[in-house]
Symmetry: C2
Subunit: 316 residues, 2 copies
């Protein structure tokens, strides 16, 4: 598959940070940044830009805040064509903290939003756009929010926001290829002036195949992470995506190296990937919260009990 318009965004440090309170050390992040730069990915997302008034830097690591001077410590002196991205959540960013793009190492700000918050997300992209940043809106938990509200969100983003891309995010790892095909077609019918993006979660080992499905139907912004790292089941593995894309600008070898050296040892310390409670949460279209709590408890391998706790929940 070769299509020049395709952009690969690696969110290893950002989504991986959801496992360890964003507490990767600078050496590790710099090694990841170097490998990604050599691999030819288009964007590298380093974390969230959260207000220090809302979150304590004692409790969270550097990548919860992504201050410009910290980003410089990662990127300075490394040859790279990649752009830098950060993510923001609605209501958690201090707009005063965000310098004009020309004074910042950050190129793109991605706004994560539920369908219900889309108006707020649009306003944020407008403000970041005025400061000179590229923007996207990443619509989360789409598997729970389909139907008229989602269609309306597509119309609004198309009309009102300056974002380069509108992402469909399968937060719960619920989708399979037919769901992705349908959603991408629906989005592209409405959103004509921006790209569509896809961000999958790997609960059911479907993040890569769903990303392929999104590509087939014209999605050009693709999220992935090294060795699939990310909260709970993690994400589409970057090494598989690069192996699939035939654009000669990508090189899988630096990614293989950094997996050998950094991610194999890391996986012994923190857990992500194909773990049965995450698979169960995915197939039942549930947030991974309960599965993550289970994995932190002494019942971590009690799969049947966990499954029954989810399917027996009364809906009132």
């Amino acid at each position: 598959m070769y299509r020049e318009e395709i952009k690969v965004l690696d969110c290893t440090i950002r989504d991986g940070g959801l496992i360890n309170n964003h507490d990767f050390d600078l050496r590790f992040v710099r090694e990841v940044y170097k490998a990604l730069s050599e691999s030819g990915v288009d964007y590298i997302e380093l974390g969230y830009k959260n207000s220090k008034k809302l979150f304590s830097s004692k409790e969270y690591g550097l990548w919860k805040f992504c201050e410009d001077d910290v980003i410089h410590k990662v990127i300075d002196g490394v040859e790279s064509k990649a752009k830098i991205s950060v993510m923001v959540d609605i209501g958690r960013v201090d707009m005063e903290d965000v310098k004009p793009a020309k004074d910042s190492p950050v190129d793109m700000i991605r706004v994560a939003s539920y369908v219900k918050d889309i108006d707020k997300a649009i306003v944020m992209t407008q403000e970041f756009d005025k400061k000179g940043y590229e923007t996207t809106i990443n619509i989360m938990a789409v598997s729970r929010d389909q139907g008229p509200a989602l269609v309306e969100a597509f119309h609004q983003t198309e009309k009102e926001c300056p974002a380069k891309a509108i992402y469909i995010v399968d937060s719960f790892g619920y989708f399979y290829q037919e769901s992705v095909e349908e959603l991408i077609k629906q989005a592209k019918d409405i959103i004509k002036t921006k790209e569509i993006g896809y961000h999958g979660h790997n609960n059911q080992q479907l993040a890569f195949s769903n990303t392929i499905e999104a590509i087939i139907h014209g999605t050009n912004f693709l999220d992935a992470t090294i060795y699939g790292i990310g909260r709970a089941a993690g994400n589409c593995p970057l090494e598989l995506l690069i192996g699939f894309l035939k654009n000669p600008k990508f090189d899988i070898r630096p990614i293989l190296d950094v997996i050998s050296k950094e991610f194999i040892p890391l996986r012994d310390k923190i857990e992500w990937g194909y773990v049965i409670p995450y698979a169960i949460a995915g197939m039942l279209n549930e947030h991974p919260r309960a599965a993550m709590a289970l994995r932190g408890s002494d019942k971590k391998e009690n799969y049947r009990e966990f499954y029954e706790s989810l399917v027996d929940t009364d809906v009132e």
Copy 2:
């Protein structure tokens, strides 16, 4: 997805046996058989039926030979609606050893064959059919053998053999959903009097999504294994497939139990699943042989070197 014609075949013990020389103990196999019987799968494949003249029972475990009396030790006293399947390789079975089906616990014999051996496979299905067995032909390594020879094999099996199903086997874990769609359509255009089957390998985390794709295009015989166990990267995880199929005859809970109790401890002893050298072999359409050798060596995490050894091979 609910389609009454769909048959799920679990090949946990057969394909899993390729990791450990078919040396699962009787207790383990009986636990697996019980769980599978409770789960409602249609067929349970216990191993290969190989001639003891060709392979030593000192070197290989019970499931390399699948003698009827050994199978009885697994199944006797367990309530089950599942049929028993064994696999044979061409030229490795002693036809004298195969009793008439009415005197055997085995219901189905599956013949694994490369495209080039299809005539021999057809003769074998005819002989097994005469003895009263259900049969299938599992065409291996299809990703290397596409084109006219495969088309001819489809025509021959349709015309000449009594098999219930002709399987497409993605031995190298190379396919993605578009390849599967194309192959299944091609097979179904020719093979009208038998079912199509699909057996995936999980090198690129695509075995489950490819199985879904096969279902979408009318494949009714589906292979899977518990927790995805199988040689190298393993297979389509049965728990995911059962989670996807909506036929109420299937119950995921006994599978969750047996994963907790048997497969989590087993995975600490033998390796299968998402392992980078297997992913590399899959994306390059290579047999996992070299990757398995690497994993048994002291260079097991030298991914870049392994990748380069495969892509730099001269083709004469």
